[in-house]
């Protein structure tokens, strides 16, 4: 049976913890709103560039050719993994790292491109070579996306990797974030090959090749940019949930221990009264 003082100390320490988790919860709640707005603001561009690429594929048919679309025999794989910089967000980072390991399936030669400090830390002991690593929150996402796209493009065109997959978190809702795996390179223009006849054929200026050469790098860069936005929003959502739970749990524990504390105090008071009464009786006798 713990003493009254021990119980009181525990309640005090729990209240401190709860204050911290509550603060983190509120910070995540405020940030998630901002991140969600950013994410939503990127959607019109996503729709437009996807649509443009499709139309390009339909009009130009199978004649499309660009270094970033070149499918070749896969000898070395590349994997771009996005995680958060910080923990305290439940299983968020571990889920992403697990999805990445599943994707690799023990392929120790695959080159890793890591975004986010947590991913790098958790993968410290993998045999896979880390080609490049960036923190998630160091600079503006547009700039970060450009840098990542540049590095990956370089490695892909030089033949260092023959295929690049992306593992990032998809923001479904505040309650659900799902690790997803998509293929980044080579880029496949949907609709390529099934040529759309006649009326809908697009004219190109200056020509198909030039439009494609300008469009594909932008498309890659934007895809990475969007994944960064979603991963960031997912991180905040995961932290919001984790910290809400932590705050609630701390509250429950505080209630329980306060109850035990009160019982102990009552017991000691009862005992004291009994002793006083007993003493008085003895004196009377």
């Amino acid at each position: 049976m713990p003493t009254l003082r021990q119980l009181r100390d525990r309640v005090r320490s729990l209240k401190n913890t709860q204050q911290i988790t509550r603060a983190m919860k509120m910070v995540a709640g405020a940030k998630i709103r901002r991140a969600e707005l950013d994410m939503r603001a990127a959607r019109p561009y996503a729709a437009a560039i996807g649509d443009t690429l499709n139309k390009l594929g339909q009009s130009a048919g199978a004649g499309l050719n660009h270094p970033l679309m070149q499918a070749r025999e896969v000898r070395t794989r590349g994997l771009l993994l996005m995680t958060a910089d910080k923990g305290l967000c439940g299983a968020f980072n571990s889920n992403l790292v697990r999805a990445a390991s599943n994707e690799l399936g023990g392929d120790a030669a695959a080159r890793l491109y890591l975004v986010g400090i947590k991913g790098r830390v958790q993968l410290k002991r993998t045999p896979n070579p880390v080609a490049a690593a960036w923190p998630l929150g160091s600079k503006h996402f547009r700039e970060l996306a450009r840098e990542i796209a540049h590095k990956i493009t370089e490695d892909f065109t030089s033949g260092a990797v023959d295929q690049v997959a992306l593992v990032s978190s998809r923001f479904v809702s505040t309650l659900v974030q799902r690790p997803t795996t998509t293929r980044l390179l080579p880029i496949a223009a949907a609709g390529a090959g099934e040529r759309d006849p006649g009326k809908n054929a697009f004219e190109f200026e200056p020509d198909v090749g030039a439009v494609l050469a300008a469009l594909l790098p932008k498309y890659l860069e934007f895809t990475i940019f969007q994944a960064l936005l979603e991963t960031q929003a997912s991180e905040f959502a995961a932290r919001l949930i984790a910290m809400t739970n932590a705050t609630d749990n701390a509250g429950k524990l505080i209630d329980e221990i306060t109850l035990a504390m009160n019982k102990t105090r009552q017991a000691s008071i009862t005992k004291e009264i009994l002793e006083i009464v007993g003493g008085a009786e003895a004196l009377k006798g």
Partner: protein, 143 residues
């Protein structure tokens, strides 16, 4: 009068959406105007100015006189008979241009360009053209 649906988007936001009578953009092979019922077309864009003349219905009083103008730093334009989509990295309205910093940008881009002789200077050229477009948007010169 017939209209076409114009959409100007950047990765960060939707800058313009509305029905316009005409949209003029700096195509890579020369400025081009998209009217309703234009043949389907995909083109790359130079840095420059996109001008749209809105219909009376969708334009606010201030826009109606001048139309909507944006300085862009290159990108793409997709034209179909009933829509025009401009994809660009940056699109700036006249109200957003800060005269002093735009002038400084022109200055910096000129200097950077002068230093890069013989090397690939496409980035600097784009920066300069974009800065100049921003200045042009304000209607005031470099001085």
């Amino acid at each position: 009068m017939a209209t076409t649906h114009l959409l100007i988007v950047t990765p960060e936001s939707k800058r313009f959406e509305g029905d316009v009578e005409i949209a003029i953009a700096p195509g890579s092979a020369g400025d081009l105007a998209a009217l309703p019922n234009h043949a389907p077309m995909l083109t790359t864009l130079r840095p420059g100015i996109v001008t749209a003349r809105e219909t009376q219905a969708s334009a606010t009083a201030a826009d109606a006189a001048t139309g909507s103008r944006f300085a862009i730093d290159g990108g793409f334009m997709q034209i179909t008979p009933d829509s025009v989509i401009v994809l660009t990295d940056r699109a700036v309205t006249p109200g957003e241009v800060e005269l002093e910093s735009a002038r400084a940008e022109v200055q910096r881009a000129r200097e950077a360009l002068a230093q890069k002789q013989g090397v690939d200077d496409s980035k600097e050229r784009i920066a300069l053209a974009f800065a100049l477009a921003k200045l042009e948007l304000t209607g005031r010169g470099e001085a």
